[in-house]
């Protein structure tokens, strides 16, 4: 029955309250505790105060998690402003969108060396500078796709809702919170989840910052693992892995799942009728009486905030802003000038120490890494597409496998790299070949869970029709199911290949104690340059990798995506 939500029921505690109240206050206390521990003198961090004591692990996990959430908050603020600006101002759009497109494909780990120097000088002598650098590194791994999704949602707002909003004269502010943000919400939440998954990988890498002369070990799971690796403490690595596992499960249950379920209500399709996912924590927040009591004033406040009459649209004659062509030209010319100037600056900077031969060599290394990426993505596809389809067509299996695949995608695979070193040394294998699989260790799951999603969304009437016409065997794969899941596969493939390029920076050079293994490639080139604080080489390496990623996306993934959108999207 349709309950009348605003009818006041007597406020009595129910059983959910006994879960909700301790949980909420626990989270609050932990946050305060964690934040207090972060503002310490830099010296304390630089002297490598990471203890391998297992009892410290929960605390380290807390620090790591807080960094993640700080970065997510920053990404969210960035998304809402950047995306809105790009969607609303035509001129801003001309710069912001291409910039975003490039930023999306730039190897994030390469950024680290620049931002560390910047943030350390911003807060001289305080660990907060290093914290900011780490958070910023995570931010750069999260923000772009979120901003892009928000921008695209704003560009596809339904006409009729826009008309209603104008005809009621919603203020710009009201429109933003009542129409634009809600409409963008499902896409935004999905991208937030993707970003968080990617983020764990980078938080682990970003906690041990060492650029040239700067070394900082921020207390956290990542530096714990780094210390354990240096000390060849296999059990320590194991304990850290277990802690990570717990953290990700908690994060999934307490944040990821309830958010996803909650975002369902913003879906624009006006049809009901498919089973919504479940989340116990959201049910708790919705059912708990204590939460309801706390929520009422918060809800009122939020609503007042969202419906404030700021940025009231001007009357038409006051707002006749004509954008003359000449101004556009001037703007474009200025833009071109800035681009040429910065390209020139970059080239000059790189050319101070490096010559053409070095550039050619780096492109050669780029091809080595490219081959690795292509071969491994192909291998991962051959393995995971059939498995994903098989699982996706069986709802009971999907229910079990899908969360596991998502979990594996979120799990920072770089924590496992040392194990590979141990194995390679033991079997005297070639690092050039056997380090490569590490690149897709964490990213292959994107392919798997996207294919599962595609196969489970495959319309049952099409399946029935295929069965009815006795389409079987190879023909069934070729004509029925592969085209059906292809759009999903491409989405997964894009994410996986982008992630693999990034991962190459940490996976082509791996250590265990004082055993260092290196595979020749662009990733290890950038890693070595970062270690040595050799800025011209870092810039060159990143630039070349960006070129590779961008060109690869344009020539391979983009056309595949366009094809899938045009021909294979099942409505």
């Amino acid at each position: 029955m349709l309950a009348r939500g605003f009818a006041l029921r007597p406020t009595v505690v129910n059983r959910w309250d006994f879960v909700a109240v301790p949980l909420i206050f626990g989270v609050l206390v932990l946050t305060v505790y964690g934040l207090r521990g972060m503002d310490v003198p830099l010296g304390a961090v630089e002297r490598s105060a990471i203890s391998l004591d297992r009892a410290e692990l929960p605390l380290y996990a807390l620090y790591t998690t807080l960094r993640m959430f700080a970065a997510m908050l920053a990404s969210l603020v960035f998304t809402l402003t950047y995306g809105a600006l790009a969607a609303k101002s035509r001129r801003a759009e001309m710069i912001l969108v291409p910039v975003l497109d490039i930023l999306q494909s730039v190897p994030i780990l390469g950024f680290l060396s620049f931002t560390v120097v910047f943030f350390l000088s911003l807060f001289p002598g305080r660990a907060i500078g290093a914290e900011c650098a780490a958070v910023f590194a995570i931010f750069t791994s999260q923000a772009w796709n979120m901003a892009f999704s928000f921008y695209q949602s704003l560009r596809t707002l339904p006409d009729d809702l826009q008309e209603v909003s104008s005809s009621f004269r919603l203020s710009g502010w009201q429109r933003f919170w009542r129409l634009e943000v809600p409409f963008a919400m499902p896409g935004l939440v999905w991208n937030m989840m993707m970003s968080m998954s990617g983020g764990w990988f980078f938080v682990v890498a970003a906690e041990t910052i060492s650029v040239g002369a700067h070394h900082a070990m921020l207390p956290g799971l990542g530096s714990y693992v780094a210390t354990a690796i240096a000390a060849r403490d296999l059990a320590g690595v194991g304990w850290a892995l277990a802690t990570m596992l717990v953290v990700i499960v908690l994060y999934d249950q307490l944040m990821f799942r309830p958010l996803a379920v909650w975002a369902e209500k913003f879906r624009f399709e006006q049809t009901a009728g498919y089973a919504a996912p479940e989340s116990w924590s959201l049910r708790m927040l919705r059912t708990s009486r204590v939460v309801a009591v706390l929520r009422r004033p918060a809800g009122r406040w939020l609503r007042a905030f969202a419906t404030a009459r700021w940025l009231v649209p001007r009357r038409r004659n006051a707002a006749t802003m004509i954008s003359p062509r000449t101004l556009d030209w001037a703007f474009s010319a200025l833009l071109a000038l800035v681009c040429v100037a910065s390209a020139g600056l970059t080239i000059r900077f790189v050319a101070t120490e490096l010559d053409v031969r070095e550039v050619v060599r780096v492109f050669g290394l780029g091809f080595l890494t490219l081959i690795r990426v292509v071969v491994l993505i192909a291998l991962a596809s051959v393995v995971w597409v059939p498995i994903g389809i098989w699982v996706g067509l069986r709802p009971t299996w999907t229910r079990w496998v899908q969360p596991i695949a998502q979990f594996l995608a979120a799990f920072p695979a770089n924590l496992l790299f040392p194990l590979a070193v141990v194995a390679i040394v033991r079997f005297h294998a070639s690092p050039g070949i056997w380090l490569s699989p590490l690149m897709v260790l964490g990213t292959q799951w994107y392919i798997l869970f996207n294919v599962i999603a595609g196969a489970s969304a495959f319309p049952s009437d099409l399946r029935d029709a295929a069965t009815n016409m006795h389409v079987r065997g190879w023909n069934w794969w070729r004509r029925v199911i592969v085209p059906g899941v292809f759009p999903y596969y491409v989405t997964g493939g894009i994410t996986a290949s982008g992630g693999s390029w990034n991962a190459s920076i940490v996976s082509e050079t791996v250590s265990w104690g004082d055993t260092h293994l290196t595979a020749a490639g662009l990733g290890s080139y950038i890693a070595a340059a970062t270690d040595a604080g050799d800025y011209p080489r870092i810039v060159l390496g990143i630039a070349v990798m960006s070129v590779f990623v961008t060109v690869f996306n344009r020539l391979v993934w983009r056309p595949m995506y366009a094809y899938a959108e045009r021909r294979l999207r099942i409505l």
Binding site: S167, F168, R169, R178, P182, Q270, A272, R303, R309, R567
Partner: protein, 431 residues
Amino acid sequence: MSYVLDETILDLKGVSKVFPTPGGQPRTVLENVELTLKSREIVGLLGRSGSGKSTLLRIIAGLGEASGGDVEYRGAPVDGPADGIAMVFQTFALFPWLTVLQNVELGLEAQGVPPRERRERALKAIDLIGLDGFESAYPKELSGGMRQRIGFARALVTRPNLLLLDEPFSALDVLTAETLRTDFLDLWCEGRMPIKAVLIVTHNIEEAVLMCDRILVFSSNPGRVVAEVRVDLPYPRNRQDPAFRALVDTLYARMTSGSEAPRPGVFPGTGIGMVLPAISTNLLSGLIEAIAAPPFKGKADLPDVARSLQQTDIIPIAETLQLLRFADLAEGDIRLTPAGQQFAVAELEHRKEMFRQHLLFYVPLAAHIRRVLDDRPGHRAPTSRFQDELEDYMGEDDARQTLRAIVSWGRYAEAFALDQEAGVFSLEDPR
């Protein structure tokens, strides 16, 4: 405050709207529209789709700007969405993430009405429109009819003087539409809604006669008021009433008047620049068969055949048949030509053959495409070539629609084939 019984709510003088086209030749959508709306009046804008009546409604709502002329609401020029004008949308335009109550409150939020009063007024509007008990439901949990009730409640809650209805019932099934329409008229006649006047856009002739005090018939290309029909029947109006029937017949005649074919103005543009309606060949043969069959036997009253086919928007189909010379239209009647009679009884292959001959002979664009394909050595031509050519005469959307229409007719007639993937017309389908 002085109270005038027949206050002028809306006054339009010489309103026109011109859209630029990519081809450079501006397209006039509305030309010199005059309209005065007094209080206690329901006025209908009746016309085929594409006659600019929705554009006009949006200009009045302040959502679009007129290219020329004056739009005055209660003596003041409309220069943006005005207080006191509310609109109900064909697509309902509800916010799926807001509950029924929140949707209804939205307009009041925008006006800065304090929460308590907002809630009270919204509940009252919900009550009035018959949505009691559904306040906390989300739109997607409700049926189409219920959703449009939210649309009405949302418009009424702001206490508008003028209510604009943009084909409010056309997305609903026949029965639901009837119920909602009757409920609306009940409330109107009893004076239970705060509104002073209603302007409704529709393509459904019977709906116009059921609801309106006055009906303005729009021609298309460009949109112009060609007739004004006053409806003096008392509410509730009865469809079986001979006076009602007579009015419906008159309106059908007005909308199809001047039947010497091909007459200018049925489809905007001439020659290959004619904007064609995307009417499927199924509908075309369906109408031919219906007219050929008893009780019509080759000649039918448009309203009658519309009712028997449950098709509210039959005029474009009839006009396409006329364009292809399978039928003649005159004074609200449709009569099959000898070719149409023959088509009705023919086998599929023969039908296709006839359709092909008529298509190539009477539709200049089809002949043009065919000629280009015949001339080219490979008998292939990209669709973009024709899209560009059409855009010299019409807007991008119209060009796309025209191309879609000609493709579907050409495919049925096997006059030419299209490789959608490559975007290329050719003479032969791959076998």
